[in-house]
């Protein structure tokens, strides 16, 4: 596949070989300084002994990792993160896809409906989370006020009796803000499907669900896969929702990896352990992503 560059103009060919690198240089430099160096530094810190002031005092081997993995909180935090990621990604994918199927019908007001679905996507998470924190408050929350004025409940209901209940609401909020992204990517996939497939299937007497599983889903799958992979990464790393509503409290029972490491680093002065948590989180995501990449590469070979 190697292209033999013409030998008559060596100067020109050298310029040609270098040219693409000049074009990508600004981008590479930007990412090198602000992404690659921080990555390197986090890995370096994860194997270093760090003073409370954040200074590296020496090599610590895997001590930070063993401290993190040995702490009683960590398994809880890891479990929370897995529950959080799977629940938010799976449910928002299913609900977002159903919403896309609905919006793919032609009806009056569809444009308005689409515009409304944009709202949670465009709103910054910290504001969305603040709104939900207010809605579910026991004493003066909007949900209790609404249900009382509708006559559904007589007295205030405590929607968050346990930390787990708080966490469930945080998951609900996560689903709420993730649905639009899935919905719109699925919708752009749906709209590129040729309607003749459905016409043919209808002539053959296929039911709605047969069409859904045999035509729609396979054709929308590429769009949904992209959305799902991006969502796994974003949801896994999502910080503002949990931080705004509970800060991971009490006693880490609503912590995910990112809120946990934020507290370790900036509240407890344990930057080495925080870096170790970062590395663990990255390794988990890397495994997930390579599974995806291997599967898409295989698809490319077919």
């Amino acid at each position: 596949m190697k292209k033999n560059s013409p030998k008559k103009a060596p100067k020109n060919s050298l310029a040609r070989t270098i040219e693409p690198y000049i074009w990508i240089a600004p981008s590479v430099i930007l990412m090198a300084i602000f992404i690659v160096i921080p990555i390197g530094y986090v890995f370096y810190m994860s194997v270093s002994e760090i003073s409370k002031a954040g200074l590296v005092k020496g090599f610590a081997g895997l001590e930070n990792f063993s401290k993190v993995l040995g702490s009683s909180k960590f398994s809880l935090v890891l479990k929370n993160t897995v529950v959080w990621t799977i629940m938010v990604v799976v449910l928002s994918t299913v609900l977002g896809f159903i919403l896309a199927l609905l919006l793919n019908n032609k009806f009056k007001g569809r444009k308005i409906a689409r515009a409304i679905v944009v709202f949670p996507w465009a709103t910054t998470l910290v504001i969305q989370a603040s709104a939900w924190k207010f809605i579910i408050d026991t004493d003066y929350g909007a949900l209790n006020t609404l249900l009382k004025s509708l006559g559904i409940i007589g007295a205030n209901v405590n929607w968050t009796p346990t930390p787990e209940a708080f966490f469930a609401w945080e998951i609900a909020c996560g689903i709420f803000v993730t649905i639009p992204f899935v919905c719109f990517t699925a919708l752009s996939g749906l709209q590129s499907i040729d309607s003749s497939y459905y016409e043919a299937a209808t002539v053959d007497g296929a039911t709605y669900f047969q069409q859904l599983f045999n035509i729609t889903l396979p054709l929308v799958k590429p769009s949904l896969t992209v959305a799902t992979v991006l969502n796994i990464i974003y949801v896994f790393n999502s910080f503002p929702i949990v931080w705004t509503i509970t800060k991971g409290d009490p006693a880490s029972r609503t912590d995910t990896l990112v809120t946990y490491l934020y507290k370790l680093a900036f509240y407890n002065g344990k930057q080495g352990e925080a870096a170790a948590v970062s590395v663990i989180g990255f390794l988990i995501l890397l495994v997930c992503a390579s599974v995806y990449m291997v599967s898409t590469l295989k698809k490319g070979d077919e």
Binding site: M31, Y41, V42, L102, T124, A131, V226, P240, F282
Partner: protein, 283 residues
């Protein structure tokens, strides 16, 4: 005859069901915004009263005015504009040539570069905060707008390049080649011929980056401690005190932070989703 009527009835019922379900979903989606607006119009006493009502008893529009006095809102907003604008500018200046090279040239390390872009997505700024903080310290950029601008620009590079590469690849290179034969150099060919054709894709990318930077919270929370250089997302938490939350002001300020972004987002939603999935399938 009878069959026809039955089919029509069925269609009508499905239609009604569709409208009903979509309407319910829209109401649920808008509910938090409705709550924010109603709360922003209430007095503090009314919010915390035992017999609260859904709608404000008498709408206190003055809350929307008060926040500009109670907090440096104008300053926060200006900071958000500077951060989002600056991040977008740097992300585009670095991203356009990179996307161009990926779409139009062949070079060693191309796949590696694309691979790195995907892997870089796995590192959210929050995971790297300790490292970012260190880099900022060394460059003397902690607690500065410029630092935030660089971070936002860098973490949005992947999306910028991803979206723009897709846009450029969907445009035929023939015109540019013809222009090169006529004596244009690559830069001229790109500026004069490719970029105008790619304008819709570029505008979509630009707005998307702007919104991302405008909405960014975590890095700003960690890096910025001086009140006068906080962006809106962090600044409005001035109403979110340790002991009491001034919900009416928090939500009034939030509405100012949301509106511009929602409008911008509506304008690009169609192009954006098409671009994201197209880039994904091709990449």
């Amino acid at each position: 005859m009878n069959d026809n009527i039955r089919v029509n009835w069925q269609k009508l019922l499905l239609r009604i069901l569709l409208y009903f379900v979509v309407a319910v979903i829209c109401v649920v989606i808008l509910y938090p915004y409705f709550v924010m607006l109603c709360t922003a119009l209430k007095s503090r006493a009314e919010i915390f009263s035992i017999n609260g009502t859904v709608l404000p008893l008498n709408a206190l529009w003055s809350n929307f005015v008060d926040i500009w006095k109670k907090a440096p809102m104008a300053q926060y907003m200006l900071n958000s504009i500077i951060i989002a604008g600056g991040s977008t500018a740097i992300a585009m200046v670095c991203g356009i040539p990179a996307a161009y090279a990926l779409a139009r040239m062949k070079f060693k390390g191309q796949t590696a570069f694309l691979g790195f872009i995907i892997v870089s997505q796995m590192f959210a700024p929050v995971v790297l905060l300790i490292g970012i903080y260190k880099v900022m310290q060394v460059m003397n950029l902690t607690n500065s707008l410029l630092g935030l601008i660089f971070i936002n620009a860098a973490f949005n590079q992947a999306f910028t390049i991803w979206l723009l590469r897709g846009t450029f690849m969907s445009i035929s290179a023939e015109m540019e080649q013809a222009a090169t034969i006529d004596g244009c150099n690559r830069i001229q060919a790109m500026m004069k011929i490719l970029l105008p054709v790619a304008a819709p894709g570029i505008v979509t990318t630009l707005i998307f980056i702007f919104i991302n930077a405008w909405n960014e919270y975590t890095v700003a929370l960690c890096l910025i401690s001086t009140d006068t250089i906080k962006p809106l997302t962090v600044g409005i938490n001035i109403f979110n005190g340790y002991n009491m939350i001034e919900w009416q002001y928090l939500f009034a300020a939030s509405i100012f932070a949301i509106i511009p972004v929602v409008i911008l987002f509506m304008s690009i939603e169609k192009n954006l989703t098409a671009g994201l999935t197209a880039g994904g399938v091709k990449g």
